[in-house]
């Protein structure tokens, strides 16, 4: 219904005043030190007192939680936004399996998990601890079992991540296609396609074989999966040729993973920007969630670079458009 969520959308639009704009990102990346960058973020309402030493995890997690707390307060439970919450479940599943495998004590585990997932974190932890993945909803159960077996059999944490990341993408694709919302459908397809392009390009650079590619490239999205895998197995120009004529043509001209990330973020921001003027509906809420994720990722990148003393130009390569 076009008149849905008017209250929530107005609140979200008002909060958009506090989002980091292009000038804020420039100022942050030009900050002379880590503490100067933190002061700039504090002026924008970020909980910078949570930063201890150079560890920004608590700050970053709090900012993510603030977004979801606002959405929950303004709009309640919005079924169409569950697609974003399921992504958090996959993150929590990954964390639970790895922590169980490494035997991390329960009291120090909390910081690895994200709130506002669709499945209670306790249930995910319980399933991993007892290896009873059937306790989980279908979309998590199979991925959890496979990831656990991969980790136990190989001891390779990366393999465990690949299994869960791929399951998360395929779930996103299914949910996106089932969604009646055009923006969410488009976002899901875009995310799956760009993740597959990134995985294929990385495999090409590392000269990975067909079997590995078939393992990492998720099914779904709008691209021909076999075509992408074949392109990744070919010479350096094959992926570019494969992408020409698709909506991802621009990705082919990026020359580094940083440039690709920037292209990807810019495309996403262009996709959601029209929602800044909408007065109702789920779309502006989804756009706000994505805009916040984008700005948090940018802030995280800048803070990490300041903490390790990376040059401003190296960071700026990855920083693209902002929502406001």
């Amino acid at each position: 219904m076009p008149e849905d969520y008017i209250y929530a959308v107005t609140r979200i639009h008002i909060r958009e005043r506090n989002l980091l704009n292009g000038a804020d990102i420039d100022a942050l990346s030009s900050a002379k030190s880590f503490s100067e960058a933190l002061s700039l973020l504090a002026a924008k309402g970020w909980e910078t007192q949570l930063v201890s030493g150079g560890d920004t995890e608590a700050l970053i997690n709090t900012e993510y939680e603030k977004t979801w707390a606002l959405i929950a307060e303004a709009a309640g439970q919005v079924e169409e936004l569950n697609i974003f919450r399921r992504t958090r479940d996959f993150h929590n599943l990954k964390a639970a399996i790895k922590l169980t495998y490494t035997g991390e004590p329960s009291h120090s585990r909390a910081r690895y998990f994200l709130d506002y997932g669709l499945t209670p974190t306790e249930r995910i932890i319980q399933a991993a601890d007892n290896r009873e993945f059937s306790l989980l909803p279908d979309y998590l159960a199979k991925a959890g079992k496979e990831a656990w077996e991969a980790l136990v059999n190989t001891g390779n944490g990366q393999l465990c991540e690949i299994v869960i990341d791929r399951a998360a993408l395929e779930d996103l694709d299914r949910e996106g296609k089932a969604s009646g919302n055009p923006l969410i459908r488009r976002y899901a397809t875009f995310t799956v396609d760009t993740a597959n392009i990134k995985a294929a390009a990385r495999c090409h650079l590392l000269s990975r074989g067909c079997k590995f590619l078939e393992h990492v490239v998720a099914e779904g999205g709008s691209l021909n999966r076999k075509g992408l895998i074949d392109a990744a197995l070919g010479d350096g120009y094959e992926i570019g040729k494969f992408l020409s004529g698709t909506p991802y043509e621009g990705a082919a001209s990026t020359e580094s993973s940083g440039a690709f990330e920037r292209w990807r973020n810019d495309e996403l921001i262009r996709m959601i920007r029209p929602q800044a003027k909408a007065y109702s509906g789920v779309e502006p809420l989804a756009a706000y969630i994505l805009a916040r994720e984008n700005e948090i990722a940018m802030a995280r990148l800048i803070l990490s670079s300041k903490a390790v003393g990376l040059s401003e130009s190296a960071v700026k390569e990855r920083l693209g458009l902002t929502y406001v």
Partner: protein, 160 residues
């Protein structure tokens, strides 16, 4: 046939009160949600957004005015007037402008009001601009009111 005349006239009166009233209720409700959100974020903005919330409510008042005028012309407050079928249809036609324009203009005005509430919430100093935009939508409700009012008053003078 005389009975049909009064029935059509009453139908016109019902349309004049029902459609703009429906539009206004919906419009004020929509703008009210947005106004409540703005006040949640900034309580000081209440008086400004209240005006914007009320703007889509005027169509309901215009509809009510036309309905009263029609009732008065039909003599429903005193001695009932003789209403031929043609005259009844003429009353119905006279009520349609405010009925239809009132309904749609209230909803469209509410959308502009919401946009203005968003504007005010972000820039509280822009009240006058925020008021002008939804007020422009009112123009068409006033034009429809004028046509309905003049028609209802003059239908009785026509010998049909």
């Amino acid at each position: 046939m005389d009975k049909l005349g009064i029935a059509f006239a009453m139908l016109g009166m019902a349309i004049a009160s029902f459609l703009p009233g429906w539009g206004s209720a919906k419009g004020v409700g929509m703008a009210g949600q947005s106004a409540a959100a703005a006040v949640t974020e900034d309580p000081d903005i209440f008086s400004k957004v209240l005006i914007l919330q009320l703007l889509p409510g005027t169509q309901g008042i215009y509809g009510l005015l036309i309905a009263f005028m029609t009732m008065s012309q039909l003599g429903l407050f005193g001695v009932p007037a003789e209403v031929s079928l043609a005259k009844g249809l003429a009353y119905l036609a006279a009520c349609l402008p405010i009925g239809i324009v009132g309904l749609f203009s209230a909803i469209h005005q509410a959308k502009v009001s919401i946009a203005s509430i968003n504007l005010l919430a972000k820039r509280p100093d822009q009240l006058s601009k925020g008021m002008v935009m939804p007020a422009l939508v009112e123009t068409y409700a006033i034009l429809a009111l004028l046509i309905s009012l003049l028609s209802v008053i003059n239908v009785g003078k026509i010998a049909i």
